[in-house]
Structure formats: structure tokens, C-alpha cells
Symmetry: C2
Subunit: 230 residues, 2 copies
DNA sequence: CAGGATCCACTATTGGATCCCG
DNA sequence: CGGGATCCAATAGTGGATCCTG
């Protein structure tokens, strides 16, 4: 199986994704021409890259939805032995200087999260990378309640950034959406406005969804399997 | 100030207790004739004993409410630097053999918790015992919702004990009420019925309230200070 | 022993730091 | 560098063990 072509409809995408359930990363990687390393520390992100190819995602590393034509973002979710998300989910990098003149409705966070295909992947650390299985995929659009939570966190954080208080932000802030470093190492720096609008150099950051939030989302989507009419 | 006499009304008790707010355990201990050791590990329970004397509790170590005439139980709650309960709250020992023929309505847990005077005490471990201050006291009667939670946990746990499954009980069980060891050391043993009703020797245990539960109760009671009419 | 509880080793969580690819 | 994320040291939480007094 070569890397797939882009699916032409939501239905086709979900069908394809669900047909991958049960496959191991080793098999799936081989099918799309990606070798899976032994060491997990040298392979961060590889599950996401394999699934992009297997499902025909087109955006590459451009700032667009993975499935451009469908406006759908692909996210793999690492699950622990109990089936709960093991890690937070990266949403997007933050352009610190652009936050001051952006509204929630135009934000990259809302765009990225408007329609997401979540693909769970086993990630118990004692299971070798190659043996980890793909789970059942779900297409998610935030409910009004979920949007309200995201928006409240985003506005609080955006305001702090716009005010130049980026150094006061820690990963503790935000009930469901948090800001954390997003950099190759701790010494990376980029420009941001400070309290007086002058430039300061600060660490690059990104928005992340907390594991408890993605866990609740997955639980809701799984429950909907039992009530096909809702 | 000598040890107090028993207060004659709820109102008198609460007034007395609130007049202690702000005092340090060292001062209060001196007033009632209790010397406060330096080492906290040698003084478990001393805050409770000082407050019993200061408020005129009468029951001693009998299985009765601390204020017999008023039917009120006294509990000190250790608070961390953030004002949240640091430890679980001991409710009562469990007579394992008596659980089989006891209903919730007659249980010691319900009796003990029907009316409780909670007295918070500072307990940040870097604050010396003598310097820890008494906080604002609150008289608590469980709401219907709180009673429902307590009852559900109690019935589940009582059933396990009655069935002889006491060794299967861990501190993980119970949303607000849990069962944990209550013994001078890990080798204490007492008799309990086993699965077939024969005797088995097991560790003495007690019921405890989880810190998250007492924290929520205190938060509700504090909030009521702002709305005196509710 | 019953009643007053806290101690503290261990587990679970988390958030700052880091790694690969195109 | 932007996009795909996970690693793992440090902190928070918990529950089994323990301590004092009358």
C-alpha cells in the first residue's frame, strides 16, 4: 500500500481511519514506507506522521488543516494502559506578537479544533513502539460547552500575552487549554512584545489541550457509539 | 484560663470556638495546661486534645459525641498553606463483626457526622507546632447531597465487610468515605468474620473522610459567611 | 483499647524541556 | 522553523503505617 491519496469526503476519511483500527505501528509504518525505530525517545511524533501518510493527509508542515479539502485536522492521542490520554495534545504554535490583534473567532486554536479526527494509539511505555496498536478513530466537533471552556481559557491567555505578561504564563493556567514551551531546547528565543510594547526575547510557546479534556472528549465520543441516534 | 466547662447551647459553643480564632497552639495549650512538644511526630492528635479542653468537651475517650449534651462532635482539620485540608479526617473505628447487622440509619458514621464542629488549624509542616494558628470554626450538618454520598460509600463498604471481604478493601474505595488501617502498628490484629462466617484475624480499621470532601464542606461553609440569609 | 489524629514512602500527575522530519 | 508530538524530573496526592493520652 503506497501512501494514500486524499480522501474525498468525511465519510471516506472516517471509514479509512476505522479500517486501521487494530493494526500495529510496525505494520502500518512498513506499508507507508516509514521505518519505526526501537527507541521511543528518537521517534517522538512518528505515530502522527505514519497516520498522516496512511490516511492521505496533504498539508505537510504547512499551517493548514491536514486534510485541506475537508478542513479536518488529524491528531493521534497516546493512551495509557487504562485507555486514558497519557500526554497533552499540541494544538498550534503561538505568534506572540499577533495575539494582541486577534479575536477568538479568528484564532488558530479555533480553526484547528473546529473539526478534528482523533486517532487513539496505544502508548503504554512497556509496549515497544512497533507493537503499539491503532485504536478506533472519531471525528470531533466541539460542543457548545466545550467551545465555551476553550474560549474562556484562550481569552485569558491571549490577554496576558497581548499585555506583555508572557513570562508570567505557566502551564498551570487554563482549565482545558494551556500554554507551554514549544521549542527544540530550553535556550530557544523569539521576539515578543513586553509590557510597554517594546521587544523582549522569550521562549517559543504553543497551545496544548490537557489530557483530562481530551479524555473527556473521547469518553463522550465512545459513548455515542452506544446511542447511534444521538 | 482553666479547662472550660461544657457549653450549654450550640450558640455558646460556636461563639467560644470562634473566639479562639487566631490563637496559636502554644498559647492555647498553656492556657489549658497542655505542653506542646517541638517534634510533630510525637504530638499527633495534640491539637484535637487542646481544643477539647479549651471548649469544654466532656466525652473523654468514650464512644460518645464530644459535647454529650449537645450531640456535637469536635473535629480539628489540618490546613496546608493554601487553606486546603492536608489530611483525611478519622471518623470512627470499625467493629468488623457488627457491620453485618447494622443499617446506615443506625451506623456510628452517621451518628458521628450528624452534627460536627470543624475547627481548622494551620498545619504547614515548616510552621512549628506551637506557632500554628486556630482558624474560624463552623458547625456542620450534612446536606442531603452530602448524606447521599456518605451513605452510598458506607453501604458499599459495609457490604464488603459483612461478606467477609475485608481483606479486599483498600483506601481507594469510596468517593468521600474510605476505610483505612486504624492501629498502633502494622502487626495489630483483631477478629473478623471471613467469607464463610468463621473467624479470621485482620488489622483494625476505621472510617475516614477524604480531604477533598472536607475541603468542599469547608468551602461551602465559608461561602455561607457571605450570604447570611441562606 | 478507643479516641485524638499525623507521618511519609510511594504512586500519579504534570508542565518545562526536548526530539525528529521536511 | 513549523508541524508531528513524547520525555522525565519534580511536585502533588494518597493510603498504609504509626504515635500519644487517658
Amino acid at each position: 500500500m503506497p501512501p494514500s491519496s486524499e480522501p474525498q469526503s468525511e465519510k471516506e476519511l472516517v471509514t479509512r481511519a476505522r479500517n486501521l483500527a487494530g493494526l500495529r505501528l510496525g505494520e502500518l509504518g512498513a506499508q507507508v514506507g516509514v521505518e519505526v525505530p526501537d527507541e521511543a525517545v528518537r521517534a517522538k511524533g512518528i505515530a502522527g506522521q505514519i497516520l498522516e501518510k496512511a490516511l492521505g493527509a496533504t498539508a505537510g508542515s504547512r499551517p493548514e488543516p491536514d486534510f485541506v479539502g475537508l478542513g479536518i485536522e488529524l491528531k493521534t492521542i497516546p493512551l495509557d494502559a487504562a485507555g486514558k490520554p497519557k500526554e497533552s495534545t499540541f494544538v498550534c504554535s503561538i505568534s506572540l506578537s499577533a495575539m494582541a490583534d486577534t479575536e477568538w473567532e479568528q484564532s488558530t486554536v479555533l480553526k484547528k479544533l473546529s473539526k478534528v479526527l482523533f486517532v487513539p494509539v496505544e502508548a503504554a511505555s512497556n509496549t515497544p513502539l512497533r507493537e503499539r496498536r491503532v485504536g478506533r478513530a472519531y471525528l470531533w466537533t466541539p460542543t457548545d460547552e466545550e467551545k465555551k471552556l476553550l474560549r474562556a481559557d484562550w481569552e485569558r491567555l491571549a490577554e496576558m500575552i497581548a499585555a506583555g505578561d508572557v513570562e508570567q504564563i505557566t502551564g498551570h493556567l487554563g482549565e482545558v487549554l494551556q500554554v507551554r514551551p514549544k521549542a527544540p531546547h530550553g535556550k530557544s528565543r523569539r521576539r515578543a512584545p513586553d509590557e510597554e510594547g517594546a521587544v523582549q526575547w522569550t521562549m517559543p510557546r504553543g497551545f496544548y489541550l490537557r489530557p483530562a479534556f481530551t479524555g473527556a472528549v473521547l469518553a463522550r465520543l465512545r459513548a455515542s457509539d452506544c446511542k447511534p441516534n444521538t
